[in-house]
Symmetry: C2
Subunit: 423 residues, 2 copies
């Protein structure tokens, strides 16, 4: 209760009036400082300290390359049409335009039995994670990968699924952290994983860059089925897969009965600012009382969301046209080439680098060092922003995440600086 | 527990595998059938029955007139720029572009002391309502107007602030319904309103069309201050105000210490499909422990949202330019003229019509009749879609809501049909 006392003091000073409304205990539980805000803060400090340094950002996974014209033209055309009587449209369906839902089902889920009405178009995967948490409520047990993208955990805390954060362990109570280090091939060791209601799994993984193999996903579906669990599978990076790893949990037999899949146009089509994603909820997925999850999710979407921007949806549809799809894949190849340069850089320095082959992230190991120290050292000496592994959970200690998003010349320059620093 | 049994039967038939994950009790509490889905269902039935009838939709408040070219061109230009190296942008700030936040503060909150950093740009007011519910959590008491827009109530139920729905009363337990009928001038009678933590107030009101007077809002701010409550003020229809009624709760002295305001470009700029809104959380607003609400809201926005579409934000900025603002007001005048025609129609038929002067909604009283019966009768006889008042709570019984959104010729035709039916 230290923070409240500080704020009460402020209140007696200049700040306003205290209401009698209790602060949400779940918000109070949230550990201070969202990872990427903290990185931004340090970045700002650094640029103030070195105003003339040319900063290279390989931190937050933000796309940098232009969107192919065929896609932006479709969005521009849709925008222009809104100023005509024939082309104006108001509210669309909360679940998304049926044409786009169809195109997503056809493009990403062909032969997996996913129907258009099971695809819910959204403004992005991070937003869908929160809507899924509202769907599930506080009375479920949850497992997350360690390390993992912070939004799963933070939204679990916000909705009330967790206990308090423990500084000793670096973990929230009542959340199961499934260790996903190299010793278990970056996948949970299911032989010693207790049952939870919900299992969040991100593949290809953010931050480790690991794409789960078919065998790993088969084991997970089997595990979920045996335990009556629901898998929330985040496939936002599936477009980066270059080998035979499954791009969807629904490639696995039985997946439809145990999994929800979240995905996104952000990293696939450079739509980080345009905002477009989707979630698939199969009709076969049922709660313990037999009620279909899709019905509740539809209700959440209709109550808590009002559809993705119609302009973004027009862009999404253009991405899935044959020419749009080809054009986007050229951009993906560009980032994949970046990834190769970064992998080679760290490898040539004798460091172990994971990921990067099926994902735009490299997970670089600095055994015995602390992530934030590595982050600081790299920033201080090379003016390169990365992400400290512990930002993704205690299992990320000793690692940094390096992103493949960037202009080629920046990536080459980053490679040069890193080689000079570390050789 | 009837529904589960039905679904278990289905499960034994063709549908999949039951997990052991409990259905969220809050979702189970939600009354079946979201209002506007139910209306859509009846509309579909009607068009199947009368395939040649020309349906006129004055139901769901959906904008119909094109967006001025100056605004759509700004969006198209932004979209095109995304295909250039200079113009491409990835993630924006979760809270919105600072230029837009500034323009909102300047345009709508001049002289009210609202700063740009207190403005959180979003993808719409309905979505913000849910984010505010995630902020508040389940451990607060809530009051809503009766009648009121269903999203406040439904999101309260989803987050766990309510008890069960009681068919006898037409109300959820543990939620305070503040009667807002003509006898209290469509505002809560605060002299007999018990304290709650949260008070949802929509002004100009959906569905009654009533804009709270300065005196009413002053009393409400006073009431909230005395009780230590937080007002969630929804001003999505403020642009329709034609008299001296306040357009923001922050026009009222002390408002900054007790209120959050939600607003939207949807009905102001025809952005129902484009998706853009905002929420203002003043720095002075504190929880009972003195912690600033804005800090928690910022965390919610960063964790559960990823910013409004950058293209929509470019459009919002164009709306707030001087030419854009003038152009939009011409569209608003068009809808206001529609409202006059509808008011005159029902008035000429001897019915009492409320609203329509400061809002795009007319609230028409049919004393002694049931709303759904009136809805059905009007639909059957005139092929006009309205909204039955009870869809907004038990206080809406005997009323229908008629929207002013529509092409002029449709509104004139609706007027003709209604006069023929009811005269």
């Amino acid at each position: 209760m230290l923070i409240p006392r500080i704020y009460l003091a402020l209140q007696n000073g200049r700040v306003g009036h205290g209401t009698k409304v209790p602060r949400n205990i779940n918000m109070e539980r949230l550990r201070n400082g969202y990872l990427f805000s903290e990185i931004c803060r340090r970045e700002l400090e650094h640029t103030q300290k070195y105003p003339h340094a040319k900063l290279i950002k390989l931190g937050i996974g933000d796309t940098t390359e232009p969107i192919p014209d065929i896609i932006t033209s479709a969005m521009a055309e849709h925008a222009h049409a809104l100023s005509t009587i024939r082309g104006y449209r108001g509210y669309g369906a909360e679940q998304g335009n049926m044409e786009l839902r169809n195109a997503i089902a056809q493009t990403f889920y062909r032969d997996m039995g996913i129907k258009a009405n099971e695809v819910f178009v959204s403004d992005g995967a991070q937003c869908d994670i929160s809507r899924i948490q509202m769907l599930l409520g506080s009375n479920v047990t949850v497992a997350v990968q360690d390390p993992s993208f912070p939004a799963y955990m933070d939204s679990s805390v916000i909705i009330g699924q967790s206990g308090n954060f423990k500084d000793e362990t670096g973990k929230y109570e009542n959340i199961l952290y499934m260790n996903c280090g190299p010793e278990s091939n970056f996948f949970p060791d299911l032989s010693n994983t207790p049952r939870t209601d919900i299992i969040f799994l991100c593949s290809p993984n953010n931050p480790t860059g690991h794409a789960a193999s078919r065998q790993q996903l088969e084991q997970l579906v089997e595990f979920a089925k045996a335990n009556g669990s629901i898998i929330i599978h985040d496939s936002a990076y599936a477009a980066y897969i270059t080998d035979e790893s499954p791009r969807s949990i629904f490639e696995i037999p039985g997946g439809r009965e145990v999994a929800i899949e979240i995905s996104s146009f952000s990293k696939f089509a450079g739509f980080t600012g345009v905002r477009l994603g989707w979630t698939v909820v199969p009709e076969e997925l049922l709660y313990s009382n037999g009620f279909p999850v899709i019905k509740d999710y539809n209700r959440i979407v209709c109550t808590c969301f009002n559809g993705a921007s119609s302009i973004a949806q027009a862009g999404g549809l253009a991405c899935l046209s044959s020419d749009g799809y080809l054009a986007m894949n050229a951009v993906l190849d560009y980032y994949k080439e970046n990834a190769k340069i970064i992998i080679d850089t760290f490898t040539s320095l004798g460091l172990k680098v994971y990921g990067g082959k099926n994902a735009p992230y490299m997970w670089v190991h600095f055994p015995g060092l602390r992530s934030w120290d590595v982050f600081n050292e790299i920033l201080e000496k090379t003016h390169i922003i990365t992400v400290p592994g512990t930002g993704f959970g205690p299992g990320g200690e000793g690692y940094i995440r390096v992103s493949a998003f960037g202009h080629r010349e920046s990536v080459i320059e980053a490679s040069r600086r890193l080689k000079n620093l570390l050789k």
